[in-house]
Subunit: 265 residues, 4 copies
């Protein structure tokens, strides 16, 4: 299915402010970026680099005054996510090197403190995939998904105590639980068609059965039509915009996801 995504950000900069942005999705195994635009108003010089997770990052210094960023993309993406109830646990010694980092605790995923809870949650499961299903459904049932309820990340243990959170919070707790039983897990930030209210979204992936699988504890039923923008250990690594200093005010943010009725010419 072809999707058109867009993200518009308006800032009021009180001082010139360095920004690191992650707003350019990459073509990869699961998505093909056919068209793309990335506009800065006013235009300022930008340097793009690739971080250690493979994300394309844009560095710039936003000038004083109004500053806007508009990105859009037309993307081929799958209608449904892949599911494999039999996907097996990959022994640590057989994990690809690049996957090992997703076993470690991180800023918002204190997996080192959650093993007892995780073991309890996954006890009915047969396969590693099913263990993740247990975790995903447990988070879905026990943490109330409340879009807009927080503006900055809290960590997995905080989410568990609070019992409520935004998409990122539910993903963080799920990730921490998966890692605590040695299942590699990472945060994904991106677009999801039909999200309501529309916004940027966060979900998680796990490495079982020799590949990454998608999960989303905010949804009662998982579906595709997703466009990943960035991957990381948690929200500390994946920031759609990361400003340095206190000189910026985000005055407006507008996110859209539309189906494109026809395949691109």
């Amino acid at each position: 299915m072809w999707i058109k995504t867009s993200c518009h950000l308006d800032f009021q900069m009180q001082t010139s402010t360095p920004l690191v942005l992650m707003l350019r999705p990459r073509s990869g195994f699961q998505q093909w970026i056919a068209k793309e635009s990335y506009t800065l108003t006013p235009y300022v010089p930008v340097v793009e680099y690739t971080d250690t997770y493979g994300n394309l990052c844009q560095r710039l210094v936003a000038p004083v005054g109004e500053f806007s960023i508009h990105t859009s993309a037309e993307v081929m993406t799958a209608d449904e996510v892949d599911i494999d109830r039999n996907a097996y646990f990959v022994e640590i010694q057989n994990l690809p090197e690049a996957v090992l980092v997703y076993l470690l605790p991180s800023r918002y995923c204190e997996s080192d403190n959650l093993a007892y809870l995780a073991l309890d949650i996954v006890s009915p499961a047969q396969s590693a995939y099913d263990q993740v299903v247990c975790i995903d459904r447990w988070v879905n049932s026990n943490i109330k998904y409340t879009p807009g309820s927080s503006n900055f990340p809290i960590s997995a243990e905080g989410v568990k105590m609070k019992g409520e959170g935004v998409c990122r919070d539910l993903a963080h707790l799920s990730i921490a639980l998966c890692r605590s039983i040695s299942i590699p897990s990472r945060l994904v930030v991106g677009y999801l068609y039909d999200l309501n209210p529309m916004d940027l979204h966060a979900w998680f992936e796990v490495y079982v059965g020799g590949r990454w699988y998608t999960f989303d504890p905010t949804q009662n039923e998982i579906h595709g039509r997703r466009v990943a923008i960035a991957y990381g250990r948690d929200a500390a690594d994946v920031s759609i915009f990361h400003q340095f200093g206190a000189g910026d005010i985000l005055t407006n943010m507008d996110v859209r996801v539309e189906l494109l009725s026809d395949m691109l010419p």
Copy 2:
């Protein structure tokens, strides 16, 4: 200056054919890709990866029959290339690690055989930058630039003997001469505004004075308005399309570069 580039390729595939493409320019220090499109007709799954030189490469299997690729980009690029007649020779021990590979001989740049010629050519020069100017002008004067005169690369020594070549050939000889006197040098493939006849173009860069500088031995006077698509040691590394097997026929290729009169909105 804003430039719009496009490249259109039509193939007639007699068997299904694996392709590796390098047709997606990256945003970097010297160019910002504001809009971009990349269309395959018919659409087939594509996997994009980054090679060791940082180029974005697209892998796909083209199906039997007609197959077309259309890419375009709107790019902010400089009108003029930077020049610094005083840029100094960087001692080997001080070169950045990533630059060292550009000192080595490569498939079409037998720098190990050209040191005597290079030393002769650069003898009037004061700085390393000026040494490259000597090489660039020597190639410009001694190798006749004949667009369309060859369809596959010949190596630097062959170019010297033949006394004639396409843009890639002049670049290869220049690169080999630079490397033979320990100046790191790399091939660039991309677009050049006002090239006549219009086509994809190749030129070279050298690392002197702590950064890369652009040279183009096909031109009597160097200017900017260039969009780099890919970098490499020579044409063996940088192939706009690299087919495997003999099942493809390129039936049409159309390259365009236009100035965009106004800055993008």
Copy 3:
């Protein structure tokens, strides 16, 4: 100065246990590994890989029963660490790409919560280097260095509240404070000559004035004779041995650092 380091670990494995080890120091700008040994008893197959921080990591599965690891190295290292009271703050937009990750909060360094404290601590300082001196001395004065006081890491905020910690804890708090004012900072684990009681040690580095500088809040006066084994954002990334599962018991650990009286032959 030539130093000989060694680390000996004895385990009693109750089940076969995957281990990831970081016990092979790399030769680099500040240290040259002239001799090295790495012995496993019993010998089991090992795969070595390089993580995203450049550390050499060894993966193996330790068998049931007694398992020992013995590593030693003869290393050229500086007597004194470099100091530059004038080293300047590097603007975010000018930081090397590989350094940016050391600005982000991480598992044990909640830099996102510590900016007010940091700004207060560094207020007397002129240069970025001096800001780090203020932080380093503040931690030295306010957090009691108590070797052996904890077996697992606590995070920077916890250290601040507890007012006491092991070397790693003092480093974590220092790192979090530095990052909270946009000074890149990383954890180093390694050997320090004359440490008392002798053990593996942890300290931190900051990126100011265009390079990394060494600090050690556990010491009243910083000196060299250090051998870095591994670098990372914090202790979550840098584990001398990381076991998966609960089947291992570390029964003995012996660390030694000696001066080698003569230069190696």
Copy 4:
């Protein structure tokens, strides 16, 4: 089997000379470096880095006068190389990204010119592995292995014409033939037990059946007891020592490989 390798190099430097060395084997899937020494006389500062092929490279500036390098290693290595007559051809679209570079022509392996010969040589073969056996045996039969017959590399086409060469030359021709039929192939430089006369050695590997396999056209029967020091596309990438300038004279080189009778303690 445990092997002890050593390489001793004596130079007489007429000017101070930058060197890039590849003399530190890495622990990997097929070899474990248990002990190692690397001595420079006189000692000079060294910086070690990892090149794009994963080789550890040492950079230094050798001073005027006598300069010696002595390296040794105790290595666990297999007695026999793995063989799989059924190992299949990996379709281009399924090759790992890091393998693709080994399909390209390179300085001494003009695979773009050798496809007709290769197709003729491999015609009896059933599997990709057997195709490589055909190439390996064809080179073994048609190119006379003459250790010491050349001091600098010639390219695959030159080797074919000359009908004679050193280990590196036979490997280059084999590699070029393999690549010309889309089998990824790379040069290995290292140690081989029982080589006569003893020297550093070169052989090649091919990627078939989803992994790398070892071949050695200089030997009538392949066996193991090899220690790889460095990998690359060809000898242009893999130079045990690469000097810049003309100021060095290698006055002595001594290579040894011994079996260690007992397993290391």
